[in-house]
Symmetry: C2
Subunit: 334 residues, 2 copies
């Protein structure tokens, strides 16, 4: 039924070992023999069985990628970076969505490990002790991308979220704003949540602006969640003249809510955030934001993982990539 390496060997009049060598590009095969084998493969329509190969060689040339939320375009962009480098090094990637659920993340990590992936990339989200525990039960290398663990003991690739937020708020301050509200993510989230909030606080602090509790609302990163936050801000007095959103998606929700209330962005209220998703240049006004290099985060973390899988020495296990303010039209420049 299915044609195996043995069938090919017989058809070509050689041993399985030789066929294996040909398939794996081992140079120790006479060109003529190689040709015979290729012909037999062609004739029989042989397709190597990666499962059998994986069992025999104890390598699958596959890396597992756990993605917290497949419908989030940020992760999609990171995934592209991962893919490109993976292809370059001849690894296949298997992407597993975890729905932003911790329990599912752990389950997915275990599934991937059972499938004997050669390495693991864990994207975004919170990295708990349970995650670390799951990683430890395996012997394959793991790289965190777009996040890091509390103790910073694991290899990771990320931006400096606090500094990014700091820079964003400073754009607002430089434009003359003093009444600056923030739509934050949950403070439980060390990267997109807590760190960005810290950056906001420090920027205000550095400018001698007092932090006002009612100027901070917690959202869930979704468009809808910023609608409520902004409605709340709109009732305040003094009403904020600028809003710093932890993410672009919430910023876009903010812009629309402001506009729906009859106010103008940036004239009445300026808006800035961090991420630079594709949509940021698709709204009106276009969104001023701090870009994180999503593709590079993916690419660099995959590259780091290849080194780890090859047991190459690596100097820097905790990579921080640079970010950059993208000036568009949701903040009036000074």
């Amino acid at each position: 039924m299915t044609v195996t390496i043995y069938d090919v060997a017989r058809e070509a009049g050689v041993s399985m070992a030789t066929v294996s060598r040909v398939v794996n590009n081992n140079p120790n095969v006479k060109p003529q023999t190689r040709k015979k084998v290729f012909e037999a493969i062609e004739r029989l329509g042989y397709r190597p069985n990666a499962v059998a190969r994986g069992l025999a060689s104890k390598k699958t040339t596959t890396v597992g990628v756990v993605i917290p939320d497949i419908s989030n375009s940020i992760f999609a962009e990171v995934a592209r970076g991962i893919e490109d480098i993976a292809n370059m090094y001849h690894y296949n990637i298997i992407l597993c969505n975890a729905d932003k659920k911790k329990e599912k993340e752990i389950r997915v990590i275990n599934t991937l490990l059972e499938k004997q992936v050669d390495g693991l990339l864990f994207m975004g989200g919170v990295v708990t002790a349970d995650h670390i525990q799951a990683f430890r039960t395996s012997s394959v290398p793991v790289v965190l991308c777009g996040t890091k663990d509390e103790e910073q003991t694991m290899p990771s690739v990320d931006i400096d979220h606090e500094k990014a937020a700091f820079d964003a708020v400073n754009v607002l301050i430089a434009a003359g704003h003093r009444d600056i509200a923030m739509i934050s993510g949950t403070l439980q989230d060390p990267a997109n949540g807590f760190a960005r909030y810290q950056g906001y606080k420090k920027a205000l602090d550095a400018a001698g602006i007092e932090l006002r509790d009612e100027y901070v609302r917690i959202g869930n990163y979704r468009y809808e969640s910023s609608v409520d936050a902004v409605k709340y801000f709109l009732e305040l007095s003094p009403r904020p003249t600028a809003i710093f959103s932890a993410t672009d998606e919430m910023a876009i929700g903010a812009i629309h809510t402001i506009q729906d209330s009859g106010l103008k962005v940036p004239q009445d209220i300026a808006v800035i955030s961090v991420d630079n998703i594709r949509m940021a240049s698709m709204v009106r006004p276009t969104l001023t934001t701090v870009a994180q290099p999503m593709y590079d985060i993916g690419a660099v973390s995959m590259r780091l993982l290849t080194k780890l899988m090859n047991k190459e020495s690596t100097d820097n296990m905790q990579v921080i990539l640079p970010h950059e303010v993208i000036y568009r039209n949701s903040v009036t420049q000074a």
Copy 2:
């Protein structure tokens, strides 16, 4: 080093077969024995090797999903539907991005087949003879989702794109429009391209409106591509009073281009499209569009695939799911 089923057997004082039964939830094990085995597993930290299991059982409980473009939110939503049903039937899914490149699609299909997936889901895009050929070289079932092949010989789940487009254009006609332009996808694409164009043509025809060549521009489904199309339309005389876009993303580009030119949507030019991506309710004005049930397309195709993998009989191999007009604010209702 790695602990195997054999180690567990020894530790628990039973045979490998018994351990295998316990791990696979085979009822033919005395509760007490089962307990002993579980304890041994726990003590040793045993994790079953899915690769070995796959080789021995010739089943991987894994289905491969090829996704044309991971950064396209439509596919992401379809993927959610696939995932949910896959989990329900205890299949893992491995997602492979193909960058909308035919060559890469074929390569990915072959990789997946080498990995011995139990079934294949092929999402969106054009299905050529080469694709069919690749599918045929394998013995596992394949379901197309969100697309279909020319000859409709393969199992598939999709909407009636032509009818969806027809309905969209009719909304415009019902609102009194006669000068209706279209931003189409490539006519090579049977689903999102050709079929939607056909629907446009037929709707005009049914209303006795003559088709004008200059009222049709071809885009590439991206936001940017509709900018040029709309600029072209704006110069025309008579200027169209409504635009039908083959996809939401291009429709959003259209709306912004119209607004940037100083005109208003829907007062000066109405816009409608097909898809209903999340962003459709996030733009201003919110986008009137024909919704395709993305989650369901994924869910139904995965369900169909499970039936095929179990060799259950299935009456309907070419499923067409219903679509629905979502009235929002980019078309003034009559």
